[in-house]
Amino acid sequence: MTELIVRVNGTEQKLDVDPEMPLLWALRDVIGLTGTKYGCGQALCGACVVHLNGEVVRSCVTPVSRAAGGSVVTIEGLSPDGNHPLQRAWVELGVPQCGFCQAGQIMTAAALLAKKPRPTDAEIDESLAGNLCRCGTYPRIRAAVRKAAGNASGA
């Protein structure tokens, strides 16, 4: 075991864990942030997406040691009151069905909007191509990303 220091949603966390432990395990089982979901465990579905130093990572395959000294943001930390434009758009358009993939969808979309505030439909599709939704809510996801970007008609 090694003590690793990681800032999670603005709070410094000292983690006494195996450095090879996937970041997802540290977030859910050690810190107790269960908003990020376990889907495939192989970086294939996107349910586990969080931000590490502002970049998207799939926490199910990211060793927690990669986050040491860094800053992680999970769905719980995206906005202090759940009022991020994407979260508002998600509610207004009733995007989720079962909801399991939605944290990963929103976190990927949030990274996109942070770098491209007015993405085209093609850019939305490229960025979210690796976030699977077994309920098939893709049209509503895209519409919500557009809405959050202030681009409801698409491009």
Partner: protein, 222 residues
């Protein structure tokens, strides 16, 4: 009426048979002198060492043969999958398109939300079966190797405009020591490694340059 070009073919054919007209392809004696040197079959690891080419006395011929051997590594799916001619990498020995669907993006490192390093770490992940190595990324499009012959690959590798601005010495260094190149020999369980070893590949590259960095002709490898 017989066209003029057919006369020339006929004359050359006769001249070659008589070994008297070098302009038509060289006399029979010269052809015999440059007959291909028989190479031993590749060893168990699939890659001949530079010494296997020592019997080729002509440096240019030896250099061409050395690069052909190097191309066994460079045109292997482990290498070509991330040197695609399109905007998406490939995967597996069958070189199918990468799944999940990713695109190269402006810096050959994916697009926002789907960067290469969103999933790939600096090492292979045994349990999740995600391959990884330091600085995992796609080769730029100008360095595409997909569909290349050994001859075309060689000309490309020597061209600084298409090799990342490297000179021949840097090419050898890259072949022998680059950590991402090294991944080809240690791609993780379930993936076929490229032939030989990085040390042998680097030695082949050094020998190729030493012999003149000649490029193979458009013909099959021996």
């Amino acid at each position: 009426m017989i066209p003029k070009w057919l006369h020339l073919v006929a004359i050359c054919s006769l001249a070659q048979a008589a070994a008297v007209l070098p302009a038509c392809g060289g006399p029979a004696q010269e052809t015999a002198a440059t007959a291909p040197v028989a190479l031993a079959a590749p060893p168990a690891d699939g890659l001949r060492p530079p010494e296997a080419f020592a019997g080729i006395s002509d440096p240019s011929e030896r250099s061409r043969a050395l690069f052909s051997e190097m191309s066994r590594v460079m045109l292997h799916p482990r290498c070509v999958n991330c040197h695609p001619s399109g905007d998406s990498p490939h995967q597996r020995d069958a070189m199918t398109l990468h799944d999940p669907p990713v695109t190269r993006g402006p810096a050959d490192q994916g697009v926002v939300g789907m960067e290469c390093t969103s999933c790939h770490q600096d090492k292979n992940l045994a349990l999740a079966r995600v391959p990884g190595a330091p600085k995992w990324h796609l080769a730029p499009k100008i360095m595409a190797w997909e569909g290349r012959s050994a001859a075309a690959l060689c000309e490309q590798v020597k061209d600084p405009a298409r090799n990342g601005g490297k000179n021949l010495r840097q090419i050898v260094e890259h072949a022998a020591h680059d950590p991402l190149v090294a991944w080809g020999w240690a791609p993780g369980a379930g993936r076929t490694p490229v032939p030989g070893s990085q040390a042998k590949f680097g030695a082949l590259a050094a020998a190729w340059v030493e012999a003149g960095a000649a490029c193979p002709k458009e013909e099959a490898r021996r």
